[in-house]
Symmetry: C2
Subunit: 328 residues, 2 copies
């Protein structure tokens, strides 16, 4: 059976939603959950019937959200350090953490090492579009990239889309300020030339293309990925806030909103990141899923399923093989 280490105490809301997520996942699919944290706190949260699937790895500290990611290596007693260590020692198949994402990324990169041919790992995230989902990467910590980094992100994203998202021929694009090959900044223009070698590369895409369902994998540097992710969350929040304000001012609109509630709910479900689980860290020698600090139990459950799929997919081998084709 597959073994998943779960940083049981690293999220913004403590152990409760994380353990609830683990239990929900176990009810749907059997696996071995190795809970990393204080077992005295965790044990009472586990119902008897699921005890057989649970093991504990003691860790007395939590790496705080205020700490600097570069300090993650120093404290070997944190839940995230111990979780990554289990993976390094091959005692587990994957790690899920809703803790400090920078720390997870540093620890994974430094302790597990990078895949052959990868200069920098990337964090990939799924964005809802009007038809399905778009994989955007990097949304992580690579703020200043070179063209070869973006090329490697492209290969990793394309392989992930094939292996995990089950898309046979993923439409791969490069984020730019215009569709034409000549459009872009120096980084994207150079990256475009490298990415042209990838058969599934369809060219530059603009910001709006993230959502129109015409792209499966979109590549950008970590600065742009982060800024866009947050801007898009901001737009969605603002639209619903503005609509709420309007509705409040009219009784008839209030009735309307009530009648539309099921539609709003379905829309929310489609666009809710909690449904998507976590963000795979691609390019490290192991399988790490980085969950949002504010994850609820659903998000944790989905992140665990992602971790299971990821570790069963041999995606890291596929990435190395794919990159090997271009380096040969």
């Amino acid at each position: 059976m597959i073994n998943i280490a779960i940083d049981a105490m690293g999220g913004d809301f403590g152990e409760k939603p994380i353990i609830e997520g683990v239990l929900k996942a176990l009810e749907a699919k059997p696996f071995n959950a190795i809970l990393v944290g204080n077992s005295k706190i965790l044990k009472p949260l586990i119902p008897k019937k699921l005890e057989q699937y649970i093991q504990y790895e003691e860790a007395s500290e939590i790496f705080s959200m205020n700490e600097n990611a570069t300090d993650a290596l120093k404290n070997k007693e944190t839940t995230i350090y111990k979780a990554i260590n289990l993976l390094k020692e091959k005692k587990v198949d994957a790690v899920v953490s809703a803790g400090h994402s920078g720390a997870s990324m540093s620890l994974a990169t430094l302790r597990l090492g990078r895949l052959k041919g990868i200069s920098r790992p990337a964090i990939a995230t799924l964005m809802p579009n009007i038809i399905n989902k778009t994989l955007l990467l990097d949304v992580g910590a690579n703020t200043d990239c070179k063209a070869e980094n973006l090329f490697q992100f492209a290969i990793m994203g394309e392989v992930y889309a094939r292996a995990i998202m089950q898309i046979q021929k993923p439409r791969l694009a490069l984020l730019s300020n215009g569709e034409e090959e000549c459009k872009g900044n120096e980084l994207t223009k150079e990256s475009h030339q490298l990415m042209k070698k990838i058969p599934n590369f369809i060219g530059n895409a603009e910001g709006r293309d993230i959502f129109n369902g015409e792209i499966d994998v979109l590549v950008c540097d970590g600065f742009d990925g982060n800024v866009i992710l947050k801007a898009c969350e901001g737009v969605a929040t603002a639209i619903f806030q503005l609509l709420k304000n309007e509705v409040k001012q009219s009784f008839i609109s209030k009735i309307g909103a009530l009648l539309m509630k099921p539609s709003f709910k379905k829309l929310k479900k489609h666009t809710d990141w909690q449904e998507y689980g976590g963000a795979p860290l691609l390019g490290v020698n192991g399988c790490v899923i980085i969950s949002h600090g504010k994850s609820d139990s659903r998000a944790i459950k989905n992140a665990i399923f992602q971790a299971i799929n990821f570790s069963q997919s041999h995606i890291n081998e596929l990435i190395e093989n794919e990159l090997g084709k271009y380096n040969a």
Copy 2:
């Protein structure tokens, strides 16, 4: 009376919406409209009672949207060339064009020259937020920027917010991937240090802050500005498309949507760029408003009002004075 040159034929939809916009503006406020284009086509569109406010500048060609902006200087018979030329010769106070924005920007920069202390002009645009509007710049053609460019954008944006948006103490921020000073890419970290000298600078802002009403002026390079602008449009379009799809599937939801129609309309009005007119080109020796190619008559009317405000504000002097303080 103020003289506004209007590129009467440069938009995606030809002269109709542009002339309609001019007439709407004239009905609200008297000014002299110098229509640049083929007067034989334009004259029949002008009602007798408004003829006194209209003059014509003959221009036989339109700079096509498919042409390269750098070619804009070559053809001196285009509507945009002639419009900018009127401004250069001080025959008008401002120019409004919905034509090729790159061409407008190149022509304005090369023919009118840059303001003292400005290395690169920027295009600024208003984004709706949950309370009011945020000015975002650059959303233009400056894809690879240096810190000094972003500093100059900051000064221009801050002055514009004071002079045109009537905000006494505009909250000025720098777009980054985190609020902390240490967050960012090399460009933003260096820019942050320069912008610290500006009294109204409140620090880094994240993508979501564009919409939460806590920032008046947000500075970024033209690549990020363009990508964000389009991504945000994309989110808004996708949300309403998804909602429409959901509503279609339920009769009750359809009734709800009908009752909510006035609220949706108000939301649309608040978030509709046509209400905002055009984007001021800041940093050139003159007053140029760049309108969206798909502008309707409302957008053109609002762009004309913007041009009038701009040219009456002495904003270019203010920018030079403000920059002078830092260069002294």
